[in-house]
C-alpha cells in the first residue's frame, strides 16, 4: 500500500500542465466557480425582482383561501379551502387519470403487441396500422381530437345515447349508475380480501406441492371461485345490500348517477391510446427477443402451447419488457399534465392557477417539479422491485 502511494506521487515527467489530475482539478474548480457565481447572480436577481414587484416569497400562501372552484374533486373541496388543499386535489386527479390510463394502455398495448405477431395477416396489419398512426401523432392532438372532435359534438343531454346498464353518453360526459352500498356491505369487502388472501395461499401451497411431488392443482379455477364466490356469498348473506342510483333524464340534464366529464374522458382515452402504441412495440420486441429455440425446446419437453407461452416465453419476455415499460408509465404520468390544455384540473393546471393568483411563480413551479419528481422516483422504485423479481437469477 505504502509503496504504491510512493510510486503514484512521483512527479510526472512532463510539465504539470499536462497532468490529467491537475487538469481535472482545475477544470472542476472553474465549473464550481462558474456555477456558484451563476446561482448567486440568479438568486440576487430573483430577490431584487420579487421586491420590485412586491411579491411575497415562501410557502405561507398554501394556507390562504384559494377562492376558486374545482369542477372535478375526489375529496371535499370548496372555494373556501386553502391553496394547499387545491394542490392536493390536483395531485389526486393526476394520480387517478394516470392510474386509469396506465391500466388501459397496458391492456391495449399487450393486445396490439401480440396482435402484431399473430399468424393472421389481417390482424397483423390492423395492429401495425394502429401503432404507426398513434405513434406519430402528438398526444396533445389526440386529446384535442377526443375533446373537440368527438365528445364536444355528441348530442345534447336531451338526446343522449342510451348505453347498456342504464348508462348514457352525451356532450357533458359519460353517466353510469352509482352504486349505493347499504347496511352490512362491509362484509362484501371483507369477503373479497379474505378471498384474495386465500387464493394467494392456495397458489403458494399448490406451487410447493408441485415442486415437491409433481402433482398439479387447478389453481386458476380455485382462486377464481374464492375471489368471486366469497363476496357473492357475503352479498347474499348480508341480505343483498347493494342498490344503484340510475341516471335519469330530465328536461335539460341528466340527474343522479355518476358522471365522468368529457375532460377526464378525452384525457384518459388519448393517453391510453397514445401510450398503448408504444407499449405494443415494447411487447413485440420483448416476445421477439425470446429465441425460437426456447419455444422449440419447451415443445420438445411436451409442454402445450398455452403452457409454453405462460411458463417459458412470457417470463423471459417480461425481462426485456419491464425496463422500457417503466419509462412508458412515467411518460404517461408526465403526459397527464397535458390536462391543462382542456381544463381537467390536474396538478399542473391547479398549480398554474395558484401561480397566476398569487404571483409566486418560483414556489408554484417548484411544487410542480418536486411532486412530479417524487411520482417519477416512486414509480421507478416500484418497477425496479418488480424488475428485480423478474430478472434472471444467475448462478
Amino acid at each position: 500500500m505504502a509503496s504504491q502511494e510512493v510510486i503514484r506521487e512521483e512527479p510526472s515527467r512532463g510539465s504539470f500542465i499536462n497532468d490529467p489530475k491537475v487538469r481535472g482539478i482545475f477544470f472542476q474548480a472553474v465549473v464550481v466557480i462558474l456555477l456558484v457565481a451563476g446561482v448567486w447572480w440568479i438568486v440576487h436577481n430573483v430577490i431584487e425582482n420579487l421586491q420590485r414587484l412586491h411579491i411575497a416569497s415562501g410557502f405561507g400562501f398554501l394556507k390562504n383561501r384559494a377562492g376558486f372552484d374545482i369542477p372535478v374533486r375526489p375529496i371535499a373541496y370548496t372555494s373556501d379551502s386553502t391553496y394547499g388543499d387545491a394542490i392536493i386535489v390536483g395531485l389526486i386527479n393526476t394520480l387517478i387519470v394516470a392510474g386509469a390510463g396506465i391500466i388501459t394502455a397496458t391492456i391495449i398495448g399487450f393486445v396490439v403487441g401480440i396482435g402484431r405477431l399473430s399468424r393472421n395477416w389481417l390482424i397483423r396489419k390492423i395492429c401495425t396500422v394502429y401503432v404507426e398512426v398513434f405513434r406519430n401523432i402528438p398526444p396533445l392532438l389526440v386529446i384535442f381530437f377526443w375533446y373537440s372532435g368527438v365528445l364536444a359534438v355528441l348530442p345534447a343531454p336531451r338526446d343522449s345515447f342510451n348505453l347498456p346498464f342504464g348508462s348514457f353518453l352525451n356532450q357533458r360526459g359519460f353517466y353510469f349508475p352509482r352504486a349505493i352500498w347499504g347496511e352490512g356491505s362491509w362484509l362484501i369487502f371483507v369477503a373479497l380480501l379474505v378471498g384474495i388472501a386465500m387464493a394467494w395461499f392456495v397458489a403458494r401451497t399448490a406451487r410447493q406441492r408441485q415442486m415437491a411431488t409433481g402433482q398439479q392443482f387447478p389453481v386458476l379455477w380455485t382462486s377464481l371461485a374464492l375471489i368471486v364466490g366469497l363476496p357473492l356469498l357475503a352479498y347474499a348473506l348480508s341480505g343483498f345490500p347493494l342498490s344503484f342510483d340510475f341516471p335519469k333524464q330530465s328536461t335539460f340534464n341528466l340527474t343522479g348517477g355518476f358522471q365522468i366529464g368529457p375532460e377526464f374522458l378525452s384525457l384518459y382515452l388519448a393517453l391510453s391510446f397514445y401510450t398503448a402504441s408504444f407499449i405494443a412495440e415494447i411487447v413485440r420486441a420483448g416476445i421477439l427477443g425470446v429465441s425460437k429455440g426456447q419455444t422449440e425446446a419447451a415443445g420438445a419437453l411436451g409442454l402445450r402451447p398455452g403452457s409454453i407461452l405462460r411458463l417459458v416465453v412470457v417470463p423471459q419476455a417480461m425481462r426485456i419488457v419491464i425496463p422500457p415499460l417503466t419509462s412508458q408509465y412515467l411518460n404517461l404520468t408526465k403526459n397527464s399534465s397535458l390536462a391543462i390544455a382542456i381544463g381537467y384540473p390536474d396538478l399542473t393546471a391547479i398549480a398554474g392557477t395558484v401561480l397566476n393568483q398569487t404571483g409566486q411563480a418560483v414556489e408554484g413551479v417548484l411544487i410542480m417539479m418536486v411532486v412530479y419528481l417524487i411520482i417519477s422516483l416512486v414509480t421507478s422504485a416500484v418497477m425496479n422491485v418488480v424488475n428485480a423479481r423478474m430478472a434472471l437469477v444467475e448462478r
Binding site: 481535472g24 477544470f27 472542476q28 465549473v31 464550481v32 456555477l35 440568479i42 436577481n45 430573483v46 431584487e48 425582482n49 420579487l50 420590485r52 399473430s118 399468424r119 393472421n120 395477416w121 389481417l122 390482424i123 390492423i126 404507426e132 398512426v133 405513434r135 406519430n136 401523432i137 402528438p138 398526444p139 396533445l140 392532438l141 384535442f144 381530437f145 373537440s148 372532435g149 368527438v150 364536444a152 359534438v153 412515467l330 408526465k334 403526459n335 399534465s337 397535458l338 391543462i340 390544455a341 399542473t348 398554474g352 401561480l355 411563480a361 418560483v362 408554484g364 413551479v365 410542480m368 417539479m369 412530479y372 419528481l373 417519477s376 422516483l377
Partner: protein, 385 residues
Amino acid sequence: MQEHDTSWVRTEMALAQQAPAGVRGPLAWVRKNLVGSVGDVILTVLAIALVVMIVPPIINWAFISAQWVGPDRTVCATAAQGGIQPDGWSGACWAFVNAKFGQLMLGRYPIEERWRPILVAILFVVLLVPLLIPRVPRKGLNAILLFLVLPIVAFVLLVGGMFGLPHVETQLWGGLLVTLSLSFVGIAVSLPMGIVLALGRRSKMPIVKTLCVIFIEFVRGIPLITVLFFASVMLPLFLPAGVSFDKYLRALIGVSLFAAAYMAEVIRGGLQAIPKGQYEGADSLGLGYWQKMTLIVLPQALKLVIPGIVNTFIGMFKDTSLVIIISMFDLLGVVKQNFADANWATPQTARSGLIFAAFVFWLFCFGMSRYSMYTERRLDTGHKR
C-alpha cells in the same frame, strides 16, 4: 477392369418442380394467413367486421361527402345548422383547411412578407434533400450550409429588421413555421448538448459528473409543460430588471433543454456499448481526450444509437405542439385557435382541422422514422451483436 458400375450419378441438375398446388397461389395464402385454424377463422371474421365498420365510413367522411372548397361555414353545415347540406350529412370540412391554409402554415406572418418564410422553406428543402441522399457528394459543405449558414440566413429573413427587411415580431409567427423552426433549432442544439452531457455523465471528474447526473435526471423526471412553465414564468425572474427575452426564445430554451436530457441518455447508451478496448486503444495511440472521443468513440457510439436519436427527434417534434400552453401558436395551436372563428363554426370543423394537423405531423414523424431505418441498414457494418 470394372466396366459396368451399378451406381449412377446424375450429370445435370434435376429440374426444379413447382411447389404442390396446396401451398401456392392465393388460395393457399388465404388458408395459411387467414383461416389456418378455428381460432384464426374467428379472428379473421372479427377483423373483417372491424374493417367494414371503420374503413367505409372514414372514406365516405374524408373523401366522398367531404367539402373541399367554400366561402364559409354554410358548405359544411346541415340545413338545421344553417347551412346548405341535407340533414344527416356528415363529411370532412376541408374547405375550412383550405381557407385557413396560409394561417396554418405561417400563422399571422404579414401577408406581404410571406415570401420570406417561403424562401427559407425552399432553401431548407434544397439543402436538406441532397444531405439525405447518400450518393450526392460534398456532404461536408452541405452540412455546413444547412447547419451554420442557413440558420443565419433564416434568422435574417424571418426576423428581419436589417438589410431593408421590415422587422416581424415572433408573436406573429405561427403554424407549421413555428413547429418546424422550433424543432429544427431544438434538434441542432440538443444533439451537441446531449453529447456534452453524456460525456460529462461518464466523466471521471466527480463534480462534473454529479452536475450532469442531477441535470439529466431532474429534467427527465418532470413533464415538458413544467419546463415550459419554468421558461415562461421563472426565467424572467432570473434576469436583471429590464432585461427580457422573447417568448419564442424562451420556448426554444425550454424545448432544447428538455430534449438534451433525453438525448444525453440515448448517447450514454451508445457510449456504454463501445468495448473498453476502443478507449484503451485510443489511449495507447497517445490521443488526447477530445481526439479520442471525436475520432474513435463518438463515431461508433452515435452510429449505434441512430434509432434512439431519431426517436428523440420525433418526440421533440411532437412535443413542440405543447407550446400552445404558454400561448404560442404552432400548427396545432393555430388549428385550435380557428375553432373559435364563428365564420367556420360547424360540428365538422374541429374534426377536419385536427385530422389535417395530425396528417401533417404524421407525415413528418413517419418520414423521419423510415429514414432512420434506412440509414441504420446502410450504416450497418455487421459489427452489431
